[in-house]
Symmetry: D2
Subunit: 351 residues, 4 copies
């Protein structure tokens, strides 16, 4: 089943930013070999036509989307496809006996009706929604061991949930007080062309979008609700930052007690003990997005305010790595029972 | 008292971003003539040495800081100085009979102890704190008429207060629920050199700073408290955006009733009726910072959320114009009884 | 023929960057009134739908492209259209008795065959190519007086020609030695969407394009040839800079004698005497693009090198102003016999 | 001499961009262990205070500059110091028996007088200038084998020389016709603070600097002269691009014959055969800086022009990697007789 003892991987959506980042990261994975790069729109082209930075690194033509061919060539498929596409494709891959890590969002919500409300597409069949393990590695990592199908978390939910869950589990913040002000670099919008991502419209500009309407809201609430043991509803705003990579989630919540910044640091360090990709910063240190750029880290900092009784939690990730391709590989490692860090040992690129 | 029938203006701090923007804007003011550009650090230099874009536009050497000379050459002085400097300089200018619009922040807080707590400098004498009219034009414009001394609002407070005041005055938002997530371009940090503003540290980066510690917090609370009629305390976070100009204040508050976005639009349009520099956007339209760049506008949009009972208010300004030099000129116009728009008829520069 | 004594202007292509900049600049023109904003693609929409920064400034629906209607509503038409469109439209406008300033490039080359070689479209009829006055204001300004039809120069040619012509006319540089290394901000690519202008592809990137193939080459050569009195052929490279506005043309040429930087400064200052929008910088001062941003200036600096016998000439403009809308208005002023600076008194926006 | 069989490395200048990039890259080098990170200005601090992105990656306090201590702790020292500092420090390190890769520029010129002319510092003693091997790996790689002291090439010279040498050696371009128009991201200016690198002065700006005066000129000419066998003098302009990383060198030269683009591609591919870090692009493909970002590649493309008889050669590198830290590691690999690619297997980070 392997090439030279390696797991064979196919990447669907290899011409998007998530797909091309999977290629970058998997180049250094000691136990995985990319055997097929797949694109419905550019099948037959050399991948370096669309991504000249890969010249001489991966000499391979793009394959079309053909489940039988994938089953023949690969052991695991990463589906970095637009939402709606995976809903149809993934069941075929699973039926063909392939392992799947889906980056699309189509299998993150357990409730199909909720999916249809926020995504405006027909939901996948319930059996697949049930089968899909939500791969937030530092929280649900144990669930990933040995399974065949992981639904990789969204970029905003990853930064947000890692920043909120320890405090919610500890009962330190009021469930009805959570406000999430999130900011993302432009790669989060994908590689499709539109006026919204035209350089001259983004540069020297800062804008909010999809206030209270982003499809990542139910994903965040589903997991917070599970942790809290009661329905949690959040206020969630997304903004577009004139930069390529990076998400910051600035989160506000009322505290249930007089917790200090040191309390939060201690709580989170205990929660994330043994988890190499969450770095809880020292008291008084707030992480910036560039400090995790190009890497799989999620860095978290705190500011408590006795005047208002609120805590401000800041969580940053590289949306293309920890928010997509990096966590997908981390999930593969967990599925396979490998060390969590394989292929992910990238120091942040600074500056 | 005037040159060719014009009011003579001196600008202290002409080598900072606020000062140089005053020069740009005053070039087109029909009733003002710049008669002295002043810099303590670069006195004697031609202004175009530090600001080559002014070559051939204002052929003038920088003067030193000399109140007697200012009284001789000017009728009004704009003090665009670092905080702490104006505290000492402005009383001398007022004693010399000059009109003053102070952009420094030294005279915004009515309570000297509060000033010393947040600014870490000795406060000006109480008589000057009392004399200073807080020049938030669209709210307190009437107070400016005929006075000699205006304290120009801070950049963050301008965007924030214009976005909150109508709702607070109407009793539509809960006073203890206000959270302000603010973002600013780098000009807000001034022209001083430091690693914090090094291009390579800012570019492709997004960072939070001074969480709950920014000196604009008491300025915001002082005014909200006055409007609300009771003490208002806010949670306030500032972030640095990799761009030159622009502030967005994203504000969250619990609503006291079931107000819709249309309700908010109507309320704010009524409040700001006749005020040319606040543009309340249509329902569903959220302004972006570039849409006011280079101009004196403050644009406001709303998103209400029945799920959480909160309203999200987004307010944007150009921090160098409406947040500094533009509002200072608007204040001068109000002081002099001129039309509010003189010298400020700039269409936003887009893109 | 005028509204309140003003010339009535229509703008075709009002949803492009050139068109919207014409709107910005004409707002402050004392003798021009915009009476129609025209877009083939968005006719019927309010202009603020596509350009929210114009909210409350120009309340007007976009008209369709209808020459008869233009003749009814306007005295002059600015055609800021893609190349190929003006070729067909402008003759109809001229026949209808309208004045035209064409920003498209379709009428810049006098030789139709040359046009078809570089532009890959059928050329306009020869009579119109002959009629069109090439509006490089500081060189051919006299030709504009009283005419009805101006072909507005391209952005790269404007920066380049203003930087080369005085030296060529003086016989100071070798005609066969000219190399032009030009760089432009992204607005130069227009507002159309494509992967080439996707933010994430441009940001943190610097690329060359169309080396020796840019359609502005024959425009530059045609004018240099006229000035030189013999055929001039140039090497011309264009690069895309991750910024919105600005062109720098860095030009290299072998000198015919031992000219110093002071010689060049003196020569150019004499050539451009009385021309307010060319600023020849002092010896040793090289202009940067931001120093003309938002304004109609072209700034020029020199570095001579005794080691190689070459001069390096640096010329900068704002491509949307002096390279498009600003020079178009300057041309209108010259056509009408008005002062050259009307509506163009913008100080550069810095920073 | 090694820790766990690894070569022990010290990095002087660990708080600059070159030093911190050495840390990033050496993390993945299988045969090198960083045993000391050294900073004269920040000795005693944890490195993560100045570079929070290294939190948890390298837990080490900065050492002071002490040659005896270095000799005790390390086998090789990378000196990423300002010019003038290495001139004094490196001889002490060599005397102490350490291997040295110097990134400062102090030992690149063989002629001390030339050094003093361009660098304005006293030159190192001639014996060290002679001893230093100029480490342009793809050209002089054989000279590095077994030596103790490498002078690492400058960033501009690396991009430029790799782009010119094969053509000069083949006699295809005229020696007196070479013009180099170079552009660099801001990290090239170092991490020191000054108005020149203030974000608001760089962003939305493009500027030329040090025209014909850059200290990399004699370095380029020294090597071209060696290859050409006669004195070569170049015209060289540097520009600052609003981005962090990347250099493009756009080079112009008159051709000695009718060479085509295919000829150049073939020539260069033959010259660089077996050299993994130069990628000669296909005919018609011009590389952009982002396509090598974060990696050790130098990518080269060509445009020949029959109209002018000139060739335009475009060469791009990441200035911090191939132009500094990456090539320094490549040189270490060559010194030690290791495989050239150790620790350098980074796929470019895109986008």
């Amino acid at each position: 089943m392997t090439v030279e003892g390696k797991l064979r991987a196919a990447i669907v959506g290899s011409t998007g930013y998530g797909g091309v980042e999977l290629i970058r990261l998997l180049q250094s994975h000691p136990k995985v070999e990319i055997t097929s790069v797949i694109s419905s729109s550019s099948a037959g082209d050399a991948i370096e036509e669309g991504f000249p930075h890969l010249t001489g690194i991966i000499d391979r033509k793009l394959d079309g989307v053909d489940p039988a061919q994938m089953a023949d060539r690969a052991d695991v498929v990463f589906t970095a496809t637009p939402s709606g596409v995976s809903a149809k494709l993934v069941p075929q891959l699973l039926e063909a006996g392939l392992k799947v890590v889906d980056l699309s969002g189509d299998f993150r919500l357990k409730d199909g009706a909720e999916y249809e409300h926020w995504y405006k597409h027909p939901a996948p069949a319930d059996e697949y929604l049930e089968q899909a393990v939500y791969g937030l590695c530092e929280v649900f990592g144990e669930r990933a061991a040995g399974v065949d199908f992981i639904s990789n978390p969204g970029c905003y939910p990853t930064a947000t949930l890692l920043g909120l869950i320890p405090a919610i589990q500890a009962g330190w913040i009021k469930h009805d007080s959570i406000i999430i002000d999130a900011k993302s670099g432009v790669t989060g919008a994908g590689r499709g062309t539109s006026l919204m991502v035209h350089y001259a419209e983004i540069n020297e500009n800062f804008k909010a979008y999809k206030i209270n309407k982003h499809q990542h809201i139910p994903e965040i609430e589903q997991t917070l609700t599970e942790i809290a043991g009661e329905k949690v509803t959040v206020t969630f705003t997304t903004h577009l930052v004139p930069m390529n990579r990076g998400i910051m989630s600035t989160m506000y919540a009322g505290m249930t007690g007089n917790h200090t910044e040191q309390d939060f640091v201690d709580l989170y360090r205990e929660y994330y003990a043994g988890r190499p990709y969450v770095r809880v910063r020292d008291v008084g240190v707030i992480p910036a997005t560039k400090e995790v750029s190009g890497s799989n880290y999620c860095d978290i900092g705190f500011a408590t305010d006795a005047r208002t009784g609120r805590v401000t939690i800041v969580s940053v990730i590289d949306n293309v790595v920890k928010g997509a391709a990096g966590q997908a590989i981390q999930n593969l490692n967990l599925m396979m029972g490998w060390e969590e860090t394989l292929g992910l040992g990238y120091t942040p690129v600074y500056p």
